[in-house]
Amino acid sequence: MRGWGRLTANGMNMDFTDEQITRYSRHILLPEVGGKGQKKIAKSRILIVGAGGLGSPAALYLAAAGVGTIGIIDSDVVDLSNLQRQVIHHTSDLDRSKVRSAKEKIQALNPDVTVVMHEDRLTSRNALELIRGYDLVLDGADNFSTKFLCNDACYFADKPLVHGGILRFEGRVTTIIPRKSACYRCVFKNPPPPGLVASCQEAGVLGVLAGIIGTIQATEALKLVLGVGRPLTDRLLDFDARRTAFREIKTKKNPNCPLCGDHPTITELFDHEPEVCDVKQVKVKVEA
């Protein structure tokens, strides 16, 4: 293993074991990462909101990458209809806590990772305290009230947010650095009126979209941790699976934003009305 000797001499802080150096070798080989970058990843703390479609692939890749602490907040249990896209959960996990199920898979994949379980809903009461304990937040929530809450809480806690959304054949990612780049409310001031926009089960989604968008979110999170490249800020990256096409929409901080604009009207956290979205109420008809 002559190669590793050279690698370790190249600025590796000797806290990594030989096994870890092998495990992360394809990162360490990258000049933009190296031993120093891998150390940053190992020290990073990332909160994933939702252990669902987006959270599953994001959690798995961030765990594989060696993120030191992954927090996961979700209050749900695994439902059969989740398994079409929520790849961190297995058939044997049905009716089990999603956070618990996710923790097991992460630790089986990479025992270096500390998983903090938050078996709870993100609310205006717990969001700030929770988010302050992490370096950045990855939004894998399935509803608008939580997405807006993530945006607001990250603004008040001054933490970067990697936002993601999927619907039918489309997905969207954007990175928000509070006070520096456009926030979610700079574009979408408020959630849509209830019932107008399908946000979850009733609309359907091509399962693999969760993988595409969730892994882009994980990429953004790692870039922020490493300080590498140009973050996906002031841009919405929209993906259309029907045409297999990405489109980038430029955004910028909106002076009329109710949160981060010149005359903010939102000065503390609050909860928007949650949408009614219960998978058990959705009857799916199958055509012969």
């Binding site: 929520q86 959304g165 999927i166 849509p192 107008l196 955004t251």
Partner: protein, 66 residues
């Protein structure tokens, strides 16, 4: 006139951004609208004129994640 809507050039009729939305059967509450890289207030859609060569983005909400 020719207007770029969501990156695609389209021949459209109508004087205002709201007219464009109506022609496409889009409820204004379902989208955020950007005109030439500037976010429009929803209250201003009816009074904001569209001109030849303008770039309009209709940004639909995308809320899912589960």
């Amino acid at each position: 006139m020719l207007v770029k809507i969501n990156g695609k050039s389209e021949e459209v009729q109508g004087a205002t951004v709201l007219d464009l939305l109506k022609a496409k059967n889009i409820d204004p509450h379902m989208v955020a609208v950007e005109l030439n890289a500037r976010m429009l207030e929803r209250d201003h859609l009816a009074t904001t004129p569209v001109k030849e060569g303008d770039q309009v983005e209709f940004l639909f909400y995308m809320g899912g994640g589960r």
